[in-house]
Amino acid sequence: MKIIILGMILASVASNVNANKLLDPLFADPSTQSVRLSPDGERYVVAEMRPEKTTMRVYQSASQTVNKQYDLARLFDENTVLRDMQWLDNRHIATMLLDKVQTKTALAESNAQLKLIIFDIESSDADPVMYQVSTPGYLVDGAPDEQGAFYFSRSAHKSKIYRIEISKLLRVDQKRTKLTRVDGGQFVESNVIANADGYALRWFFQKSGQPAAVLLRTEIDKVSLAVYKSASNEPAAVPEEVTSWKLSELNKKEKSKQDEPFFIPIAMASETGKFYSVDVNEPQAFSLYLVDFKQQQNELVFTSPGQPIVDLIFAKNRKAVGVMVVEQGLYKESYFDGQPSLLNTEILQVVTASSLDGKTQIVYQESHNQPGRYVLHQDKKAPVKLFNQYTRLPDSLPSRQVVGTVKVDEFDIPYILTLPQSASKSAPVPLIVMPHGGPFDVYDSSYFSADAQFFAANNFALLRVNFRGSGGYGLQHKEAGKKQWGDKMLLDILSATQLVQQRADIRSSQTCLVGMSYGGYAALMLGIQHPKIFTCAASVAGVTDINLFIKSPYLSPEQQEWITEHVGDSNSDYAKLKSISPVYNINRLSIPLLLIHGAKDQVVNVENGFRIKRLLEQAKIPFEWRLYPEAGHDFSEDDQLVRLYTDILTFVQQHVSN
């Protein structure tokens, strides 16, 4: 049946549509890749993770040729998944492995025991040497300026860091005998370099490798920051508590105390005893402080003008020199000393790894029509592309992008329009309006978008709008979305649509809505309210009854509180929320509708989809319905994304051609 329908569609729109272009390269490739640079910059390791197997390849930086290759499925078993990897020195790579079953849910992963395996890349291919740590705990870091050793934490009611020599560990394939000892008998007091009285959550080190401080849980409800005496080399030294926090206060701050700063350390500064910290009483991290918890002094280091700080940038001496923020929907580096940013608004370019001498770097780059790629920069050599994030895509795709704003109620609402290269006044293209999910804090960026490139390749223009409530444009923009789900947010999307519809290269009479999650809600509501502007609507995992959504059992009490504040209270605001819910307005639907929902959706209960389905069937209003029995909220398993985008494209092609 599907084949017949597809055939009809192809026949009717063959003149301007290439069905399902880019579908597989964008949505069918489940592999992910990550890369790490060795401390001397002479090698880098690339891990390619696929559902069936994970492969690690070690390359020579100078020639970009493969030096070593490890197939984890062959070395261990097919269920082995790489969680993370790290160079301990120029010869050893530490890998944190876990069983595939334990990656299925956050709950399982949080209980999973990571297996620490260390690869000696100078061992022969015929007899690869791999060491294993059997003692429970976690890798803290490689020992600085020391080959063949690393620091390992055993966290319990009393936590310790041990200095472990790699060569003394047992090899993965080594049989235990009466003469061998677990982990080479290294978990002994003589190897302890630091003690702490409590469960260590995070250790902070001096540049010299001496432990400087530890963040640890000392009681069920208490987390402490304890600092070691600066000159102490005694492993038995007990750190001195300088401050502590009640977890219950962190999780649920008392309203009356919200004006007082509530600092949490995120990194140790080069200055002894000081920590880079953020104030958790700020709604987001807009300011960075240097805090001396012992002296109870703090100094404001940097304030981001309305953009939350998402990461710190360190110089080689562990001094923070800048922050990474999101500005106008784009990642941007802001330096304290006014250095120019590495970034501009066209290309995202981030240094992801650097050798100790800074002469070799790996840089990640992407732009709107250039899929993400990793590039190797070596001193005095031309940059070399290592690999693309999308392995089956060309380096650049033929599309155009227009970034603009539309004024709505004195707000400048940003939008991003992606057009097929061929779109012109003489060959206008149909328009898809795709509101993002979230809706709060989430935003569409003008860097690479799989959605935009997919629809552009299939001869559609795609409009994405960062309506009020979206992240990436500062606090005022985000807060303006409070309790505006069915009002101003929709108005912003509508206004941007009407502006773009005036373009000569847009066929405004063929405008469809496509959205997922909140976007699915917006697609439904705008489709119901404005049948003269929108030709059809596809709602995927959409909220159709806001009161039902708020009553989700999957939300924690804190999340419930947040939703009450930002969306509404299903007790006191019931009538209002009902009035802006598609279920209670569906009698006004007069455009073609495609409803898609995953039966296992734990964010938007599939009941949302069934409610609309039931009412439309009862009223005998035609619509299309796709239930994905195995899908959750993000359609990320198996071939679900391919099927999803096939369903959506088929639907919109059919209705713009009519």
Binding site: K104, T105, A106, L107, A108, N111, G437, G438, P439, F440, D441, V442, S517, Y518, V543, D545, N547, L548, K551, S552, P553, Y554, L555, S556, P557, Q559, W562, I563, H566, S570, N571, Y574, K578, V583, Y584, I586, N587, Q602, V603, V604, N605, V606, E607, F610, R611, K613, R614, L615, Q618, A619, I621, H633, D634
Partner: protein
């Protein structure tokens, strides 16, 4: 927000409480059974269960409806009345029926033992964990879901409002029975959806 939420449903805390007065004879499985003549003002409750753990049971207790308003801002102010009732779901799947006196009920805890260790998930008096029984009606109460993945002190448990999702299946079961009681949406908080089904929308 919607996309970013991580499943935190279960594990609302561990409650240790003495075993309560079990009235498991009220539970009839996989069939619709009218309450006996002695059970006046009773309704039939229908629960859909998807249990991926063994020996799951729940404790429910009637709510003093006068206390509901003040419990909106203070969950501890919710007054429960009558005897706690144990609903034993051992060995069940799909629709399960239970005959109960009319009223608003709170599911106070769900028991999901880990092998022979007791583990009880508290529902913190949340109105999400309520249902209503109308007398002389077949009341759809909700879906009890217990996840497959667990630790000894953690498991995902959810009580879901799936009235429209289960409606066709439920109507088929009701039509196959001899009971002529009307169907009610036994949700424990305000939800006007079922009103739409009573009035054609066009």
């Amino acid at each position: 927000m919607l996309r970013s939420y991580i499943l935190i449903a279960g594990a609302l805390g561990m409650l240790i409480s003495p075993m309560l007065n079990a009235q498991s004879t009220w539970l009839t499985r996989n069939s619709l059974t009218l309450p006996t003549n002695k059970q006046k003002d009773y309704g039939i409750g229908v629960i859909f269960v998807e249990l991926n753990q063994h020996n799951v049971s729940a404790i429910v207790q009637r709510v003093d409806e006068d206390s509901v308003a003040k419990s909106i801002t203070n969950k501890d102010a919710l007054d429960l009345e009558g005897k706690p009732i144990k609903l034993d779901f051992t060995g069940t799947t799909g629709f399960v029926t239970v005959n109960l006196p009319e009223g608003l009920y709170q599911i106070t805890q769900v028991d999901v033992p880990h092998f022979d260790l007791p583990f009880k998930v508290s529902t913190d008096n949340s109105d999400i964990w309520r249902f209503r029984v109308k007398p002389g009606h077949i009341n759809y109460l909700g879906l009890l879901e217990v996840g497959a993945v667990r630790a000894k002190d953690n498991v995902n448990v959810a009580w879901l409002n799936r009235f429209a999702t289960h409606l066709d299946e439920l109507l088929a079961a009701i039509n196959a029975s001899t009971i002529e009681w009307p169907l009610a949406h036994g949700v424990g908080y305000q939800d006007d959806f079922s009103l739409l089904l009573e009035q054609p929308i066009k």
